[in-house]
Symmetry: D2
Subunit: 363 residues, 4 copies
């Protein structure tokens, strides 16, 4: 054999630790193990006994820990992916930032604006990369839509719509009664609020009105379950937006965005993706996507790819440092709408987002 | 830090060598380097000076060689991916099989049936896994179509269609005059012939009629260029199939399949994939896929994933050993149609595929 | 010649008078003259000098008059089609009913609920057929959607959407400043309110919230122009509906309906109807419908066909007398939402539709 | 009452006689009775006892006759619509032309080129309007496609496809054994041959190759039944076309056209037309059109509308006289391909269409 030894032309891989081993943490760990160029799944952390080790074994990661602080204290760790329950997000962001780790955090980044503001202040000080998991921006068609609206394809934005219909949030949970009222706004519709903000570049939400109910599982209404919601958002450029969510779409995962303006309309998403068409005695048929990690498998990975590129670009001083990703102000803008929607649902009235008050519009 | 050391629960990665560094060899090398779970890009080989080393450096592969035999002689190599020019395929398959390497080979596997038969005999003897690069079978919608036809969704197959319209084969080549007559049949339509065979399970092609011409670049017709072709194929179950190719689709890569039978119809493919819809004063618009490695990026990788799983399943005696992949008989069946199509083009007459003669049907 | 004389097996044609010669009156007159089996355009009436005569001459109608009462007093007239300005509708309905004429009236049927109630009382007394011009119910796909929801295809209705984007209401008018605030609710969205009611069988609207603005022609905002609106409607079965309108869709007439429920989703409408698909170097393209009388040409005629059949069925005591058409209660339900939407726009608050008060929900 | 009497501004209606009361003759009679502006269904003729009278009574036509010559001898008849069995078409055309009647004739216009040529000579002498029932040219999307190809949207035409899948020709007939071999070519595919000719303006078919079989009802193969066919047509501008037919599409009437050229592609037709979309636990669904008179209802009527306008334009010397309709040369070009396809099916060889010989290409 006469092999030539090739010194790698590639930069060293980024060492990433995943915090949290729920379904989204595990999904990100699997992605980092197999599908994200330039990244290495360096460690997995979860306080629950045995969970981090089990996931690490499954995906071939050599380190696991129940003590989250390990990954913050480990100088070998370049970046963390936070997939823990959302109640812990703001604190974990702060800890990671103080440790100088670059941060990818799942949504929502906090349950209160003050918590998020504190975390963002740490990020500001630490000058680390911060990206929030608004994966729709990385889905092929949503990404095209975002680019087209910025290129002026629809002119002045006047109407927007974002829809999330989830096939199984209620049906698939053993305890729907445990889903608190804020979940549909802070966990689900927060994706839609970000999409609406992103589709209306430069505009700020100024008023929110929400109608929500337990229509899928009315027997759990008493416990605070909300499984269906329609939220209207007014922007300071006049645009009127509607976000809509439901927790039990029998036909699969249905996520759509629509932007209408003085020059035209853009549509993205929908339940039918790349699929064979079947025509028979009952008519025409196509399969629909059933899981968000099917519908958005590429988008979930693409956002991590971009995160890794941006971090390495930042470390190495290349142009990738300037890659646009959803960051702190995006996380805050979406959370603000989610919290206002919850408030509007409770009062039955439109809520204004003035920095000063955030009081209900009518007394 | 209190990390637990996790012994990998994953089997050792498969060491794969890529032979050939043209665009398809390079694409496969990049896939193996970054995207194929369980595989390691172990070496790159190409006789042209500097090419293997350059690709290896780019993708982070530690070994490169100009001497192809190196990868056959190296006991560390589990499998080879053959992406060399097609004239060398049959010989490389034979060498690899004799060396006991599992083989993934790009299409066409040979330029003559006798060469292919010789190579397949070596594979038979060596009992290695052999997979041919008919990637359409791994594209989401084509895979669904293949499954649906096997489940009986269209009943008895009666009519089939497969289309390949390539945006740039002629326009993008510096020397269209160098494209010999067989190329449209053996390099392009061979994908369609395999798709037709695969969409008509259990049936054998019995007659082929081809019409072909240089319509895109008529100025090169004299040199033998064929850039447009329609081939009809008759099967022994009565089904009538049409394969169609053209080398200059302005609107992008357009690959489609259609199966019609006593119970219905299935359609797969098309130039519009996941994309935003734009509506403006000129009407409704959608982007089209422009490159086969865009249109089929997932399929190109998926076929390697399945190859790696099948090889490891074979090595370890797991169920993955039985994964269905396009193999020797599939390669032979498609090549036979391609060669008959060339013969039909030359004679102007239908050609029968009887094993005995393969003469033109009329004298 | 040896012709056999055939006594007509068909009933006598229905004699119909058209009142009003604006674009919709003229369209109905042309339909009756040429396209509606069993009907005869008997007379045209319009108080403006020369207009009735001009239209009558154009469409081959033998009678014209400036005195509307003529058609009420004429015993030969079986039915009237009211296409006059909407401010006169309620009074014309009353007159026609008192004269015993069957009535097809364009929307909106009145500008106030009390006026409509008075007219409906006359209809009740006269026992004449009354149909309002909610033509969407007769468009092929909307009609299918209405039938499917009644067959239970989506289960319990939870979310609804209706969209009207009109390409030219503002751009095509010489005097946008003359469009008063109610127009977008009472003339345009009233179609959507009827569609939502019809798509949610048996349910009653209980609360309305409207956001509206002059975004297309902000320079006319001062005069009361509203050219963009989003209205949310809450129903007593829990369903939440959104109606949306805009007066300047560059890409053509875009009318859509969507019904989502416990069993699935139905969609109808959209700007791309039967059209050739064009694929070129800029991607994929399709033409969009530009005028409502293009998009809904068949629906506009179909509703008159059904009206004529229902009237003749009533006259002759056949089963056609029971044909379902949008009538008085449908007209009232849609008008009530439209008026509440205007009120909500003015107060900025949700409006409840309790029969007792119809006051703003919060004081 | 103070009606103004309005002298009709419209020209006198055209008096049309329908010959033949089979399903297509009856459909045309119903259209003329109710839906074609400017036309009057003046008489119905059919030699079978009672049939003309029955249809006339049903549609409100005052005259019926068993003696076809009546309508030729009647000076009041302006035009005839020939819907008799195709074996009589050529002779009826000749008779009508000699009588000076304008002629709309269903396809095929003859069973032999010599018969058609004799009929066309009479038309030439009589200078009457002659239109053949190639209704696809009048379907909205096919008409757009035809216009777009003439505007140069696809550049130089290189590939064409036309498909007819009929849901019930075999299944719906009591005696499939009675369907002679030519039917699939002369009655069904003749529509496709005309579409291909029309989509390739200025080009002439030069060679035809057909593959046909009884795949739907193989038990009737012995009697000559052909229920499935694929025909390739070579044109003198190099374009290669495929026409495809089948007599038992379970999913409904499926008629499509596709034109590909140096500048792009155009598609028209398909089994899914204006329809609601239904999404449920089994995926996405749409209804398909089941009958040609559903799928092409508008096109069937539109062609008669244009015929009537052209005849009246000819009578009155207006611009409508120049309306483009499929005429004698179009009928002849399509018939020539159909007859060559039958010949190719019988010989198994490509057939050249040289005027001189029309012999099989190989001896």
């Amino acid at each position: 054999m006469s092999y030539e030894n090739i010194p790698s032309g590639r930069p060293e891989t980024l060492r990433v630790a995943v915090i949290g081993t729920g379904w989204i943490g595990a999904f990100h760990a699997r992605s980092l193990a197999d599908h994200i160029p330039g990244a290495q799944l360096y460690a997995v952390a979860d306080p629950a006994e045995g969970r981090a080790a089990a996931l690490a074994a499954e995906v071939g990661c050599p380190r696991a820990t129940q003590r989250i602080e390990d990954v913050f204290e480990d100088e070998q760790v370049d970046a963390v992916v936070i997939g823990a329950p959302s109640a812990f997000h703001a604190q974990l962001i702060s800890q990671a930032a103080r440790a100088g780790k670059h941060i990818f955090c799942e949504k929502p980044t906090a349950h209160a604006l003050s918590d998020l503001d504190a975390a963002l202040a740490e990020i500001e000080d630490a000058k680390v990369v911060f990206q929030v998991g608004f994966n729709r921006r990385f889905s092929t068609d949503f990404a095209q839509a975002g680019q087209q609206v910025r290129e002026g394809s629809v002119g002045q934005v006047q109407l927007l719509r974002s829809v999330t219909r989830d096939p199984a949030v209620v049906g698939g949970l053993s305890n729907p009664a445990g889903i608190r009222s804020h979940v549909i706004f802070t966990e689900t519709l927060i994706h839609d609020f970000d999409a609406l903000n992103w589709f209306n570049p430069g505009a700020k939400a100024i008023q929110v009105h929400a109608i929500a109910d337990a229509l899928v599982a009315p027997e759990h209404k008493e416990t605070g379950l909300l499984d269906t919601a329609v939220v209207t958002v007014r922007y300071d450029n006049g645009a009127i937006a509607v976000a809509e969510a439901n927790f039990s779409a029998t036909y699969g995962y249905d996520v759509r965005g629509e932007i209408f303006g003085s020059g035209g309309m853009i549509q993205a998403g929908g339940p039918v993706q790349q699929t064979a068409g079947l025509f028979d005695a009952q008519g025409a048929h196509a399969e629909t996507s059933r899981l968000n990690i099917d519908l958005f498998a590429d988008a979930y990975r693409k956002q991590l790819e971009v995160f890794v590129r941006k971090v390495r670009g930042t470390q190495q001083g290349t142009a990738d440092a300037a890659l646009e990703v959803p960051g702190g102000s995006d996380a805050r803008a979406a959370l603000q709408i989610a919290l206002a929607a919850l408030e509007s649902h409770e009062s039955g009235l439109p809520v204004r987002l003035d920095a000063a008050s955030r009081q209900a519009v009518a007394q």
